[in-house]
Symmetry: C2
Subunit: 502 residues, 2 copies
Amino acid sequence: MAEKKPNKLKARLPRGLADRGPAEIAATRAMVETIRAQFEKYGFEPVETPAIEYTDALGKFLPDQDRPNEGVFSFQDDDEQWLSLRYDLTAPLARYVAENYQHLALPYRSYRFGYVYRNEKPGPGRFRQFMQFDADTVGAPTMAADAEMCMLAADTMEALGIPRGQYVVKVNNRKVLDGVMDAADIAANKRLTVLRAIDKLDRLGVEGVRQLLGTGRKDESGDFTKGAELTPDVADFIITNSGGDEGFAGKRKDGGVEIFPQTAGKAALTSDVLEAGKKELAEIEKLCREAGYGPDRIRKDNSVVRGLEYYTGPVYEVELLIETKDEKGRPVRFGSVGGGGRYDGLVSRFRGEPVPATGFSIGVSRLQAALTLIGKLDAKPPAGPVLVTVFGPDSVPQAQKLTATLRGAGIRAEMYLGNPKRGVGDQLKYADKRHAPCAVIQGPDEKVKGEVQIRDLIAGAAPSGAAEREEHLKKQAAAQTAVKETELVAAVRAVLQEHGLA
Amino acid sequence: MAEKKPNKLKARLPRGLADRGPAEIAATRAMVETIRAQFEKYGFEPVETPAIEYTDALGKFLPDQDRPNEGVFSFQDDDEQWLSLRYDLTAPLARYVAENYQHLALPYRSYRFGYVYRNEKPGPGRFRQFMQFDADTVGAPTMAADAEMCMLAADTMEALGIPRGQYVVKVNNRKVLDGVMDAADIAANKRLTVLRAIDKLDRLGVEGVRQLLGTGRKDESGDFTKGAELTPDVADFIITNSGGDEGFAGKRKDGGVEIFPQTAGKAALTSDVLEAGKKELAEIEKLCREAGYGPDRIRKDNSVVRGLEYYTGPVYEVELLIETKDEKGRPVRFGSVGGGGRYDGLVSRFRGEPVPATGFSIGVSRLQAALTLIGKLDAKPPAGPVLVTVFGPDSVPQAQKLTATLRGAGIRAEMYLGNPKRGVGDQLKYADKRHAPCAVIQGPDEKVKGEVQIRDLIAGAAPSGAAEREEHLKKQAAAQTAVKETELVAAVRAVLQEHGLA
């Protein structure tokens, strides 16, 4: 590092952001097309909103402090108004629907995908920019809309190649949790903290949740998360009752089927809002069963909470049940790769009239990481372009012409654009790095004869073991053929066809 | 407006940002796929960088003022470092290449597309978020790389359906302009202002450029743009000479072929840098001609400048020559829809060694607006999903099942998700708004018989004139047929096939 100039700029990305190469991009494209086809089959139509919105429209303004929530990236416009990068695709949709309400066919069913931004602490698999793919139905008051979202989630997982039994859509209802919090008399400003604590049961276990409901919790890295400051007996009441009928404490069964066994300490608890939540859950269950979606695909699960504050009724989550191992052989469970719920209040904020809505969001980036790890996505880069070599600066116009001829015939091709004085050996090394299937070589001798050499770089690739050396020499001799310049396209196409590339 | 509650949030987008509907999204997808295919044929491979970068990596930090340039959206990270939204796709690529230099096959040929953000005054057709599609070759020192960019630009325009003769790729060289500014002894900190002034010749004419070279210019809206503060005789020298051989003043010929007629007041001007620029231009011209690209597609044009400061050699611009009229019948010229150039210094900033590079960028959003206006892009929304109607809440599970059956057969379908107590008439109005090709109706009578009604909404659409009334009544009777529930899929598919939708 000693030779570095002190003034040289450092090339680096801010934390929690990542570049993506050809294989990753191709995999995302394939996923997005599959999801799009599925969402369209369900009758959703596309809409797109920009990445920047007014902070107040996103509901991320802290009115008492006159500045935006720290979890979103924010900046002031030249008229001093606060702008933020969208942190999800739901809040912008609510703004869009409110702004275009008169022109939309209601219920309005739309889908959209794109990057969202969170100004949060990045970690393994946690990024500050990631892709979501959402479907929403606005103006649909009944549980049929929520049931449909669950079916859509299940069908989309299977369309993406995840076999039945290796995923599950889990459904709960915020009203059940609201009923418990009502009974425990939890103050409004503590409720989101309580919900987020319960949401972490999967990751932290009952003891971790108890800490987050109480004074707070320090994680392995030493970072401290503030708790909801409930007294121990209130925290206990929440833990015992938040599972609705079955309670929340007790052992979880792996695979998640029987999560809430009866517990002795359960309080007798009932309320109108809790009963309404239970009724809605039963309705969704009935609709799914009648449409042919069994409990192996969609089922009630009282541990589902979702961390966002705007949900008002059913909440649902897609969980991958596949277990795999990471590079170090440690078991990996993917957990939630998508979710959503009903948000009847989000559009109303703009319109002053009730506008029921429900939506589902797939975490494309997270799901892609999971599918790659289990080998469901091809991570191999595709074959490179045909390389046309050059013999010094004077040969360039002719080489450019050969390249243009190949491209004109629809063949992926490039001329060597490094220093044209480099030898053919160097150029072929470059071709190799680029995964070029073949090279076109025209030295002065060939030029005079009106010929080109076509070198098959796949057949002629160097063998990995010395044992195959003789075989390789034979192959190499066969792998280069001279043809008339007029037969360039046909000869290159023949090589591509031989390797299944054309 | 009197009934509005004072506290109600306003649903609105910040200036210069826009939402996009189904037709626009479909058109962008088609364009992006066409451009991608073309860029891949040229041997470029995809790469993607995030929307957020360190401000200094983008070169948008004002070191003397310790804050970012006002033209980019910027915010501070929690460690106080400045971050910015990318304002183009070139600066992030330079950072990417510098960061991954050891692992890339050089010359590195890549393409990428995505939104970029500019914190500038929005206007008609000028947005603060818009899409670009770029190709770049890094590590390529010769004019062959620049010539290839021009050919790529020309081929891409034709692939997008713009006929030969209706676009042109215009090429100039910054060294020519640098030679003139050297001769006029223009200070380094004024050069970008001078270049941007010359760049506006197209829009403002010679007098406008003269004002921008001098004290400044007030536009129609009253906004004032500060000038380069050159004395009148220096401004005159620039105007007379910046066209290289032919000078810049004098009448422009429409279509842009002969832009720089000889002028009497021209100074005798020559310098090494100017001569180098002219030699490079001649090389590009030769390579293009030998590869079969004539002056109707790619040609020298001394008025091309490009407004970005990082260009060091050839600069090129794609201009649409199509003239059309706007909604008010006024003639519209689209002008530049893409451009680029050589930026040999951009990667070097990070590496302390020369890294030659050249790139080309298509303004997708602007090109899309142009293609839509001349009718080259389909702006019609596609057909909607089949609507399954409901008869009150109790019918919903059965209707959901019919919908699932259609979807299972690959047919785009939705169940009515508004209030299930609404009459069928209201539901059919909704189907109409959604452009549904047909509706599936199963009332209590049909249910008992195990039947469904299939109503063809295209054949049965209400006539616009009263004269076709009788015809319409006949059609309507024929447009609804009862079939057994087991034949639902076949019957719906028949209707779709009849209208060319399956």
